[in-house]
């Protein structure tokens, strides 16, 4: 039978030893992990891993390998990182083949972002170009300040299926002077219809109301190897309905509103001005009144 004193000494030693052992094992010399896996990475490194896995797929096109690299990672992490990457790449106008690969991977993983729309319409199709001459989908004829020079051979027409746009081109002008190589766009709503009632001689004639600039409208500029996006209203000192893009000489562009596959204008390209400088385009787009 162990005495009370002996039991106390043993217990005290045990407790003290346990405490010392835990302090050493947890704080002084904890287990060092050198064989971790991607899911254990810090959040920023984890997102970087996902981006790299996506770029790996862009480079080698090996879907199984890309999925294996993403295995074990949280679905939310993969979705968020991939969606952010696609949006950023679309905003920077990355080449269409890159965007197409990213879109394929995203679709496989159940990720969807608005920037993917145009590439989802062209499964595996090689990129086409845009028609060589500006062709508005509205009946408004283009007004050019200078006669356009002979256009190069048009690249093939893209294979995506355009959908009817609720917008139309009201006017388009080729402009020489000012900042060259720009596409300046104004988006507006039509003025409200005038009252049909005959004005009373006692009442003053109402002042005509002009078109209303529309802010927050997403514009898509598409070309053979990429796409760019702008939103109206970010330069309110110009107009709440204004947005602009930079254009490259020799490239044919299509302009869509709201959705990338709803073009209002295609075959847009810069022209040479009489003074030898580059032109710009000024385009006014109007939202069609609701049926």
């Amino acid at each position: 039978m162990i005495s009370r004193g002996r039991f106390f000494a043993l217990s005290l030693g045990l407790a003290l030893g346990l405490a010392l052992g835990l302090v050493y094992a947890w704080l002084i010399d904890p287990v060092q992990l050198y064989n971790t896996t991607p899911p254990l990475l810090r959040s920023d490194y984890r997102h970087e891993w996902i981006r790299l896995a996506a770029l790996g797929y862009v480079a080698d096109g090996d879907m199984d390998r890309a999925l294996a690299r993403l295995k074990g990672l949280r679905e939310e992490d993969v979705r968020d990182a991939l969606a952010a990457m696609i949006e950023a790449y679309a905003a920077h106008g990355q080449p269409a083949p890159t965007m197409r690969r990213l879109t394929e991977l995203a679709r496989r993983l159940g990720v969807y972002t608005p920037a993917m729309s145009i590439y989802l319409e062209t499964p595996g199709a090689p990129t086409g170009g845009i028609l060589p001459t500006p062709i508005p989908t509205s009946p408004v004829p283009p007004v050019s300040l200078t006669p356009p020079p002979p256009t190069p051979t048009p690249p093939p027409v893209p294979e995506w299926t355009p959908v009817p746009s609720p917008y139309r081109v009201l006017s388009q002008n080729l402009v020489c002077g000012g900042t060259p190589g720009q596409l300046r766009v104004w988006v507006q709503a039509p003025p409200p219809p005038e009252p049909t009632a005959t004005p009373s001689p006692r009442r003053p004639t109402p002042t005509p109301v002009g078109p209303r600039p529309l802010d927050g409208v997403v514009l898509w500029l598409l070309w053979a190897d990429g796409a760019d996006r702008a939103v109206t209203g970010l330069r309110p000192w110009v107009s709440p309905g204004y947005a602009d893009f930079h254009l490259q000489p020799g490239v044919f562009y299509a302009l869509s509103v709201e959705e990338p596959n709803a073009p209002v204008l295609s075959g847009l390209s810069l022209q040479t001005c009489p003074d030898g400088g580059m032109s710009s385009w000024e385009i006014v787009i109007e939202r069609l009144p609701n049926e």
């Binding site: 005290l12 030693g13 045990l14 030893g17 904890p30 064989n35 490194y45 770029l55 080698d60």
Partner: protein, 122 residues
């Protein structure tokens, strides 16, 4: 008194053993915020391959070097060279080797083993 001290020391030894067992084996510190440098070797190799692929897509050698430095800050190109030479020796995927060699060339880290993939001797 001497017996009590002895028992206390035995308890201490048992306690330390138990504490180390719990702290190192049964319930070790859980790492959830690790860095790429702590990845298992096969994941490290994958990481290097992905960095080379990203360089092929983005064409940014500075970004690639920064990513490689996550594995070995002192000599960022060393893991790249080691993996490339290993894959060449083991007959790895030619597309992988070409991507790795291209990155090594951009970072000025080519070795004689890579020359056949550079399209000629330097």
């Amino acid at each position: 008194m001497r017996n009590l001290l002895l028992l206390g020391l035995v308890g201490l030894a048992l306690g330390v053993t138990l504490g180390l067992l719990v702290g190192w084996v049964l319930w070790p510190v859980q790492y959830t915020n690790t860095a790429p440098a702590q990845l298992r070797q096969d994941y490290r190799n994958d990481y290097i391959l992905m960095v080379a692929a990203a360089y092929q897509v983005e064409g940014n050698p500075d970004a690639a070097l920064e990513r490689l430095a996550q594995l070995e800050p002192e000599q960022p190109t060393r893991p790249l060279v080691e993996l490339t030479e290993t894959l060449i020796a083991q007959g790895g995927r030619p597309t992988d080797i070409r991507m790795l060699v291209r990155l090594a060339e951009a970072l000025g880290a080519t070795t004689p083993a890579m020359w056949p993939y550079l399209g000629g001797t330097p």
